[in-house]
């Protein structure tokens, strides 16, 4: 019934909002979104039970999600809103602002304005990628957040309390760490939780379960990609501190889900293609970490965007007869 289809209740909007959390990992499911939000809140409070900084990330995420979804619903297509496609950039803006900035009124203003600005940015950048049958992914979030994180260096009211010290890259010696199996599992799960800038293995489990609710392939690819990134990073002698915080994992996780089971159907060909994309993402992550060192900001999910664009631009048709 068209009447029924047009009846929009508060539940429609709540569902659309929660789906925004799921769409960060390409899952348009409110249940996945709910588990992700739960994981974020739990991780933020557990990691820092007494402190003030980390729980802010969770509240920032919620604010960014609500603001961007609302702006999208008001000014843009309801269809995209119902799929959660306006909220996924905003929730990440919220995570990023309070991961790196202190709790000031003007940081909240920047968060709200930034989340809202992802809406025209997403529509505009999607037009650029449309001829190549792909989209802007999380790049609207990256563009807006980079501006805010950089601005924090110059704006007295935006204190960059969580940002790295800007420094010139040097070179590093080979570190010889021996990781226990338990440590590796923790770092591996943090690779998944860092998709939302959360440094908690418990959150990682929530995210994987949330993915599995909607797509077991997505959960599998998140696990494979985080493992590949962890293994490569240990082999190449990457920064120990970054390994322990899961900072090499989050972009490959997104690439794996995107290429392995979202834009291509799971199959033998797409398996190896997605694997190559994950490996490429790890190299782009390594490169961008150093590239941004002199300005002391994080890569955010830009390595995922760059590697996945490169792997989508060829517009390969990877049809496997072995999969239905």
């Amino acid at each position: 019934m068209s009447t029924k289809a047009n009846k929009r209740t508060i539940a429609t909007y709540v569902t659309g909002t929660l789906r925004g959390a799921g769409q960060v990992m390409f899952q348009g499911s409110a249940w996945t979104g709910l588990l992700i939000m739960t994981g974020i809140f739990l991780g933020c409070y557990l990691e820092n039970p007494l402190g003030e900084h980390m729980p802010l990330v969770a509240w920032g995420a919620l604010a960014g999600l609500v603001v961007s979804t609302a702006v999208g619903y008001i000014f843009e297509s309801k269809a995209d809103g119902d799929q959660g496609l306006w909220g996924f950039n905003g929730i990440l803006v919220g995570c990023a602002v309070f991961t790196f900035l202190g709790n000031t009124p003007w940081a909240w203003v920047a968060l709200v304005i930034g989340s809202a600005l992802t809406i025209p940015a997403r529509r505009g950048l999607n037009n650029v990628f449309a001829p190549f049958k792909t989209t802007s992914y999380t790049f609207p979030f990256i563009l807006v957040s980079w501006c805010i994180l950089l601005a924090a260096r110059d704006m007295g009211q935006l204190p960059p309390v969580g940002e790295s010290i800007a420094s010139l890259p040097t070179s590093v010696a080979v570190a010889d760490y021996h990781y226990t199996f338990g440590e590796l599992v923790v770092y591996w799960l943090k690779g998944v939780s860092q998709v939302f800038l959360v440094n908690s293995w418990i959150t990682g489990i929530f995210f994987i379960v949330g993915l599995a609710l909607c797509s077991r392939w997505a959960a599998l690819w998140a696990m494979i990609s985080a493992a590949v990134a962890l293994g490569m990073s240990i082999a190449f002698g990457a920064s120990h501190a970054d390994i322990t915080e899961g900072l090499y994992g989050f972009s490959p996780v997104l690439t794996g889900i995107a290429l392995g089971c979202t834009f291509y159907k799971p199959g033998v060909k797409s398996f190896f293609y997605a694997l190559a994309g994950v490996v490429f993402t790890v190299f782009v992550q390594y490169g961008m970490d150093v590239l941004l060192a002199p300005v002391g900001i994080a890569t955010l999910t830009a390595p995922f965007c760059i590697a996945t664009w490169i792997f989508m631009l060829p517009m390969y048709k990877l049809q496997d007869k072995k999969t239905k």
Copy 2:
């Protein structure tokens, strides 16, 4: 009469050249261009009556304008030349070279070559933006000028006397300045004059009057945008020195004129959309100031280009019934 239309006199070329100065602010009017040129010369001589450096900016601007307009007329379409569309990048190259470089013969060579190179760069980059119904704006100027400003660090014959010291970004404390109304007016007007890299409130008045000659909306948007940028910068605790020189204002001024009354008709919807674009530009300006700190070059008008592209790419139709 086609005969008459084809009769090109020296006046045709002078008009086309002066319009180039006007087109920096989207006004294809020789009178606007004349007022802008007057403002530049006046500002440069008033700011530095005895010195040598600043007046050079005015002569560089004139040289860049003439060279680029001439190259455009010779190799490209006469129609664009008559509209001043070949000159606006060149005049800015001229302003930039002698704002940042010392007076050497090779700096003049770089200025002339750079102004000429904006012609193929503009035609080429316009092709990239054509599918999105927009253009390259001042990006040919930015591309060429960044090369020259960066080169000045390595080339003994291009002394970077006016460039910042390259430095790693740190963080800043909240400064507590109390601005008088008179000070604010001066900084606000300098935000307009800095469109042509001139640091003079008198020049700002000439620019606003020049805009008003051609379009009162453009003059209004220049004033609104510079005010918004000034207000935001004080609120967010931006660099005091940059505020006093109008360095947060010039890119938003261009975005405001572009979105508020050039690419969209003035109206309620386009008013708020342009306002959002101006706010976005301010954030991009903050971000790029820090991004370029390690190489010590200015953003030039890149924040305007980036923000306005993002706001034009969605190709919104903002028709207001309230405006004709």
Copy 3:
């Protein structure tokens, strides 16, 4: 006979592989490729007869060429493979890895993965440039190699033994060198050899002869462009050390061959257009050298790509009646 045309022998693949070396300079000729490979090996061994580092560049080049050509043949079009179009990015990745990194097993892994990744990157990026009737040039090589060179700063197993020290740009005094004619010839020839990151005037001669075998115009443009770059660099007071190593010449050489006789037929108009492109490339080279100083990596052939894209994007038709 279609039977004969389809009979692919080992010679077909060897030819296709060697052509990859030639295609770096736009020559799809196995003989040119053979002379280039000979020049690389000779230059690397002559420059460093007892050391270990430099000869590695030659073996890395061979490995990168073979890997990328093989990956292209296996997954992509045979036609491009036979023209050497899959190999030219891979050979450059091989040259770059061991020009800047030490000889570790993981550097070889990075080289092999990087060379293979140029294949989807080339196909993808070519789609982006197709509407403008041009291609991605050597940008797949640049993208992949920048990631590896940057990664080397953070990865203990990828020692950046040949990379510059990351530093903030300052300014330089005018140096007053008097060059003998013999010195100038050496630096000029090194400008050609540096196309493959080889610092040897003998290699430069091999490259020019190799070009002449296939196209005398290409050999001529390599010589003209390297000379223009050398002359400009001395005039503008560029870094003496970089002049002596030919580091201002390699990108202009590629631009000259591309614009002067590859994408346009040789003629009066295309001569001056290519010359303008060469001059632009020199400025982009100057700019990018400084831009990348804070991260201490080389520009690779990015100045060639950027300048040639800008000069191809206008899609000028430069037909000269004076040339057939």
